[in-house]
């Protein structure tokens, strides 16, 4: 455990935990958009900004990617923090005005957002889909398109590798805006424009999982395919 001071309170925090995790354990509210407790933090949305001081100077930092260290002081609700969070939210709302997840968090941070629901499902580059695919599923079918010197891609975006994808739909599950969507038509599942053949449950007949996904699970676990063709409801 390390001793830190958060909003003037001296507390003990788990070593190597992040400022965000520690704050949430203490029921201190910090907004997030690109964070998921089961994934490594990414620091994309910049809404979880806090001020930290470790050796004399206050700095702004993204609390989700900042580990607590002994003696760290933290301010989660100063004027500086509120200003930064609001402008980050304003920029997001300005770019994605019709995406509901953005509208909600912007409204919470004091941006003027009309009450109606947003009508679009844009990709806000939060990276949750890529991290899920890399860390939880492990097939690494999603990643950021690269930019920079000599690689001028107009708009950063998530790149999809159809050869690696097993059609599990985890990315659609975790996407906060509904940009990643899954469609099912009979025995076919369509996700990221790739069509997957679904396997029917040998008990109830419902199409429940893509063949590619079951094959992947079989390879990873050694369990033969024949024992994987029962859906979770019938098991």
């Amino acid at each position: 455990m390390v001793t830190i001071v958060i909003d003037g309170r001296k507390v003990k925090a788990k070593e190597a935990s992040t400022v965000l995790e520690t704050a949430r354990e203490l029921n201190i509210a910090i907004p997030t958009l690109c964070y998921h407790k089961d994934l490594s933090p990414f620091g994309a949305c910049r809404l979880c900004a806090v001020e930290v001081k470790t050796n004399g100077t206050w700095h702004l930092a993204a609390s989700c990617v900042t580990p607590v260290v002994e003696g760290m002081e933290i301010k989660t609700d100063s004027d500086t923090v509120r200003e930064s969070r609001q402008i980050a939210a304003k920029l997001l709302f300005h770019r994605y005005p019709e995406t509901e997840a953005v509208r909600q968090v912007a409204r919470e941070l004091g941006v003027t957002v009309p009450e109606r629901k947003g009508e679009k499902h844009e990709c806000i580059l939060c990276g949750l889909c890529a991290r899920t695919c890399n860390e939880i599923v492990g097939v690494k079918a999603l990643n950021f398109e690269d930019r920079g010197v000599g690689r001028d891609v107009e708009t950063p975006r998530i790149k999809f590798d159809p050869n690696a994808c097993i059609g599990c739909g985890s990315c659609a599950f975790v996407c906060p805006t509904g940009y990643v969507s899954m469609e099912q038509k009979g025995d076919k599942r369509i996700i990221w424009d790739k069509v997957f053949k679904m396997v029917p449950c040998s008990v109830c007949g419902r199409y429940f999982a893509p063949e590619d996904q079951l094959r992947y699970i079989s390879e990873k676990t050694g369990v033969p395919m024949s024992e994987l063709t029962v859906c979770t409801s019938c098991r």
Binding site: L60, T66, V69, A88, N143, D146, G148, R151
Partner: protein, 639 residues
């Protein structure tokens, strides 16, 4: 540079516009300059803006700068990319007559947020000069709505560097290839590496990595393991199938002859071939690689890595003629054979003499280090002896010593005339040597050797102390009176430096030489005193590093191409004297140590030449790549 009209470079304001006097004398600040030495008019870069031409359109300069940094903004954090877009939008609104005060206030707020809340050091630092422009050239921005000028930016050029990139002799786009690794795109990373370094598997193992010394994370925790990341990209693609280099473009008129298939020669050959020229390399040894093949032992760079990388180059159509030494180059004859240009890259393979008495005697057991390594690497059998002393402190000496251990020499001792701090060998080599039981005697040097019955018997050595610095900047070793001692050994290997063996370029046109006996070549164009003949690498600089030789090959190819096409080389910015590591922002970065690789157990090392250092796994490489702070430094400039 011309007289400064306005500068905010380094955060110091120099304002010489009408009626204002500046406090800081401009002479104390070092600005970027032009490589050609020509006049640089104005620029906007990461460290500020510098205006020397009163006619410079600051708004257009700012817009061009914002567009350039937008290309590098990766989009992985919202504030930087959306912030830069918003700034460009707001300037557009100004031009359309929007409400000036509100727009400028919002611009300041956005610049401030991007500089404190961006994820990486690039986002944080890149927008700073825009604040200078809004603050000090407010009138120009205000005038936009009233039909203020904006030009098309054709007069501006852009140069991108980074501290690591600037330190790299070959200017590799290091943040770029690290980012591709971070996104699990090893093959794309390797393509980017190959744009400046055509021997990545070798360099990823044997480079002296000046980039790591420049990494800003040195001040935070540990530098990025840039060399090992390069190795990870090379090894991953090597282990897969279908590795091939970009083939040649449209065939061009003219063949180029290259002497030496070392890193400089191979690099120049590949680049010229890729431009479409016919290329023939004349190599004296039976294999390619130069010092890599004949000097660096297999436990540092395995043969199959070298063979693969040379083979890749050959497969693009480069002809390599082995066993073809060219001590007497007939340039006129080569020209008659159709060669339009010649690149001499023979390296420095002659071991320097120690200059001590007894050395001139030919005897068994008195060995030149470079020759020792070459014989060993070309397959000659070397009988291990009981005791060997190696004289010298550079990587050649370390290579000799560590090879002797593996060859079965029982007692290996290095004798170096300065102290550990001055020892030029890389720290990894010194550490490896000590782990392998090699004794290093510092501050000692031989003064004479004793030979009997045609065999080396012993060396008389003298202790040294460090005196005043010499031309290399290191403190000169000074013999300590009456400190002589005798050391008996079966072999003495001298590894105190190398010189090039200069080929003679026919009697009528002698190659100009420097006072150190290396080939004189223009540092920018690599042209020698003989028209159409270029030179680069160790034969020009004296014994240096692989990556410098590689860069010489890159630049020789550019130069020869420009020469054959009859055009000038393009100009670019030089950051000589400018501290590229400094930025005007100060973000918080949590400490995180570098990923480490495994080394072969010491017990398993010493009877074979198996590779000692391991490489990163894919996930280790990706984790290490995540530590990169993307320290790109962008400068938009006007000639």
């Amino acid at each position: 540079m011309n007289k400064i009209v306005f500068s905010s470079w380094g955060g110091k304001i120099v304002d010489n516009r009408k009626g204002k006097s500046s406090k800081t004398p401009a002479g104390t600040i070092t600005f970027p300059s032009l490589q050609s030495g020509g006049e640089l008019k104005s620029l906007m870069g990461w460290n500020g803006m510098v205006i020397t031409d009163p006619e410079t359109d600051v708004v257009s300069l700012t817009v061009r700068y914002l567009n350039e940094i937008r290309k590098i903004s990766c989009g992985e954090c919202s504030v930087c990319m959306l912030g830069i877009d918003r700034l460009l939008e707001l300037i557009g609104e100004l031009a359309e007559g929007g409400e000036v005060k509100g727009i400028l206030t919002e611009m300041e707020a956005v610049v401030k947020q991007v500089s404190v809340n961006s994820k990486c050091f690039f986002g944080q630092s890149a927008v700073i000069p825009v604040m200078d422009a809004i603050k000090y050239y407010k009138a120009e921005f205000q005038a936009l709505g009233a039909g203020g000028k904006q030009n098309d930016g054709k007069d501006f050029a852009v140069t991108v560097t980074a501290p690591c990139q600037a330190a790299c002799p070959a200017s590799l786009d290091i943040p770029g290839y690290i980012e591709l690794i971070r996104n699990n795109r090893f093959s794309d990373s390797l393509d980017l590496i190959r744009e400046r370094c055509i021997l990545p598997g070798i360099i990823g193992r044997a480079c002296t990595h000046p980039c790591e010394e420049a990494c800003v994370r040195n001040a935070i925790d540990e530098p990025l393991a840039i060399r090992l990341l390069k190795r990870a990209a090379a090894d991953k693609v090597l282990s897969g199938e279908g590795d091939a280099l970009e083939s040649s473009g449209k065939p061009k008129e003219g063949k180029v002859a290259i002497v030496g298939a070392g890193p400089a020669g191979l690099s120049a050959a590949y680049r010229l071939r890729a431009k479409g020229y016919g290329v023939t390399i004349f190599e004296a040894l039976p294999r390619g690689g130069g010092m890599i093949a004949s000097g660096i032992p297999e436990y540092r760079v395995p043969d199959d890595i070298l063979n693969h990388e040379v083979d890749l180059i050959k497969r693009t159509g480069v002809e390599i003629r082995y066993n073809s030494p060219m001590e007497h180059l007939d340039w006129k004859k080569l020209q008659k054979d159709g060669y339009k240009a010649l690149f001499i890259a023979v390296g420095a393979h002659k071991g320097n003499k120690m200059g001590i008495s007894g050395e001139e005697t030919r005897c068994e057991g008195l060995v030149d280090g470079v020759e020792f390594l070459r014989d060993m690497n070309l397959g000659k059998r070397i009988e291990p002896k009981k005791k060997v002393i190696v004289i010298g402190g550079g990587n050649v000496a370390l290579d000799c010593a560590r090879s002797c251990v593996r060859l079965g020499f029982e007692d290996v001792e290095i004798i170096y005339r300065r102290s550990r701090a001055e020892m030029p060998a890389s720290i990894e080599e010194i550490k490896g040597a000590e782990e392998e039981g090699i004794k290093i005697s510092f501050l000692a040097a031989p003064v004479s050797i004793t030979v009997s019955d045609g065999c080396f018997r012993s060396a008389e050595c003298c202790r040294m102390k460090l005196g005043e610095p010499d031309e290399s900047g290191r403190r000169r070793p000074v013999p300590v009176k009456n400190s002589e001692y005798t050391i008996e050994a079966d072999m003495i290997i001298s590894a105190i430096g190398q010189s090039p063996a200069i080929p003679v370029v026919n009697a009528s046109q002698e190659l100009g030489l420097t006072s150190w006996g290396t080939i004189k070549a223009d540092s920018a164009t690599l042209a020698t005193t003989v028209s159409g003949v270029y030179a680069g690498g160790d034969c020009v600089t004296g014994a240096a590093t692989l990556i410098e030789a590689l860069d010489a090959g890159n630049r020789a190819a550019e130069s020869i191409d420009a020469y054959l096409a009859g055009r000038d080389r393009s100009d670019d910015l030089s950051f000589s004297g400018v501290d590229v590591t400094k930025i005007r922002t100060d973000g918080y970065v949590p400490k995180e140590p570098a990923e480490k690789v495994d080394f072969l157990d010491i017990g398993k090392r010493t009877s074979n030449f198996e590779e000692v250092e391991g490489g990163f796994s894919v996930s280790e490489a990706i984790n290490e790549a995540k530590r990169c702070l993307r320290c790109y430094r962008v400068t938009v400039w006007q000639k």
